[in-house]
């Protein structure tokens, strides 16, 4: 077996176009999916039983079925409702819908992790449920959910590869096209595997730095030796 490294150079533009498409799709899915995930998480706590049931059902449905079949259903169903979107948009919507179910669970976990007393003290001042969430609880969930949110984003990057099955021109599609032309599947798929790997590692490294900065800010002065030994903090 011989490895033809020239593929990497001669088809580089194709690969990078696909790479760029992958990035755009994932960003689009996050912009659509995260806010909706928040909506789902809040609906799960709603005092209206119907909202709770709808939210839980949505989450269970999207988490208990393969993404590929969700993609195909979106692909075939949307035209019937008059929505003739190009495959890229269908794919982004499908990825967003899928992601929102997982984002919702992450956010729900974060809300539960914030001490109950925070919500209570906010409600006790006269804030409504939503006001208490918005001004007191949700801001505190941010540093808590950051790692899980990062994991979810990495997962979306990987799931985006499945969009190649509905001919979206992202990175995996680029490899399929290249190997179709060159009959060199190993080089093509290894190339994109490395690119996905690099993308995910980069995101992970950036987010780890962000996490450290965020947790430093929210931990300012919290129970470290310096603060405790400070005599100025002695009075009642």
């Amino acid at each position: 077996m011989s490895i033809d490294l020239s593929i990497f150079t001669s088809y580089a533009p194709q690969f990078f176009l696909g790479f760029w498409m992958t990035i755009r799709i994932v960003i689009g899915a996050i912009i659509l999916g995260m806010p909706f995930g928040l909506v789902l998480a809040l609906c799960q706590r709603s005092r209206f039983r119907l909202l709770r049931i709808l939210a839980v059902s949505y989450i269970e449905i999207f988490r208990n079925t393969p993404f590929i079949i969700q993609v195909f259903i979106f692909f075939y169903v949307l035209p019937f409702y008059g929505l003739h979107l190009p495959a890229t948009y269908v794919g982004t919507v499908a990825l967003a819908a899928f992601g929102s179910a997982y984002f919702a669970e992450v956010i729900r976990g974060g809300i539960n992790a914030v001490a109950k007393g925070q919500l209570e003290s906010a409600r006790a001042t006269g804030m409504s449920d939503w006001e208490a969430m918005r001004y007191v609880v949700l801001p505190q969930t941010l540093p808590i959910i950051l790692p899980a949110m990062t994991n979810q984003t990495l997962s979306l990057v990987k799931e985006s590869a499945i969009l190649s099955t509905i001919t979206v021109g992202e990175l995996t599609m680029a490899a399929i096209t290249v190997q179709g032309e060159t009959f060199r599947p190993f080089e093509a798929f290894i190339m994109i595997a490395l690119m996905y790997w690099a993308l995910n590692e980069t995101i992970a490294i950036i987010m780890r730095r962000v996490e450290r900065k965020v947790s430093n800010r929210s931990n300012s002065g919290r129970a470290n030796g310096i603060a405790r030994a400070d005599p100025a903090v002695k009075d009642g």
């Binding site: 925070q118 006790a124 006269g126 804030m127 007191v136 903090v233 002695k234």
Partner: protein
């Protein structure tokens, strides 16, 4: 058993409150009336329902039966004749005028000291930032924290956090304050700082209900002490009388456990009423 026939025009009226948790009865038909300006201290062994009763006063813990009225308006009632949205709106509006202080302080760590006090004013009372900050600084001055206004709650001692919680309540101009064991989570040397602030508020005429273990504080500040056990009010009356000469064996035992010597138990005094006799 002496009947409860106080006038129904009291500032805070809690009528026949019943509450159970997972089959266990926390409150059995408890009624409490608090006139304006009175300071009531609720004492009792742990598990007696005193915190539950306090939390029912602002419906943070909704009762299974009974009603709570503030100045005639329903805070919460079960059953409640009003629509759900009416209930929610009215409750939030009333809670804005009731201030609650928690044992675990519950200050908001993601906001600075000043912002903690400004936030509810702007969100709930819909005040503009200028007014909110002015009132916040005034409230922080009352509790002695104005120097710390740009600091973060995590840098404060327990006592300071509790005083911050009190300032947050004060800035909302409450007509009633509910305090759930405000000093129980504090190191002993920090307790007096908080109690001093509370005493000043009481002297200025604030209506307060305080669940506490600090009997010395109760004696010096309270107009009335209420003793609860097992979900019922056993005895209530003026602190001097009730703490020095308990009428019931149960209160006597409780006080003894807290190392207070009680004189011979006897029924006397007009300002003293026994709810349940042993």
């Amino acid at each position: 058993m002496a009947p409860n026939t106080e006038t129904k025009n009291n500032f805070l009226e809690m009528t026949r409150i019943r509450k159970s948790f997972a089959g266990l009865t926390a409150l059995q038909d408890v009624s409490l009336s608090v006139p304006k300006g009175e300071v009531v201290c609720i004492i009792g062994p742990s598990g007696c329902g005193k915190s539950t009763l306090l939390r029912t006063a602002n419906w943070l813990t909704p009762a299974d039966a009974g009603e709570v009225r503030l100045n005639g308006e329903i805070v919460g009632a079960m059953p409640d004749p009003r629509s759900k949205s009416m209930q929610a709106r009215s409750l939030n509006a009333l809670r804005a005028r009731i201030g609650m202080v928690f044992q675990q302080f519950n200050v908001w760590p993601h906001l600075s000291v000043l912002e903690n006090v400004v936030c509810p004013q702007m969100v709930v009372a819909k005040r503009g930032r200028d007014i909110a900050e002015k009132k916040a600084l005034a409230a922080l001055a009352i509790v002695g924290l104005d120097e710390k206004k740009t600091d973060w709650p995590d840098n404060l001692s327990g006592g300071q956090k509790q005083r911050l919680a009190i300032a947050r309540v004060l800035a909302m101009d409450p007509v009633l304050m509910l305090l759930d064991e405000p000093t129980s989570a504090l190191d002993p040397e920090l307790v007096s700082g908080v109690l001093t602030v509370l005493k000043q508020l009481a002297e200025k005429g604030m209506t307060m209900i305080i669940v506490t273990h600090e009997l010395g504080f109760a004696r010096s500040v309270a107009n009335r002490v209420v003793f609860m056990e097992e979900g019922q009010i056993i005895e209530e009356g003026s602190p001097d009388v009730i703490l020095r000469t308990p009428s019931t064996k149960r209160l006597e035992v409780f006080l003894e456990k807290l190392n207070l010597t009680a004189l011979k138990p006897k029924t006397n005094g007009a300002s003293h009423r026994v709810m349940k006799s042993d």
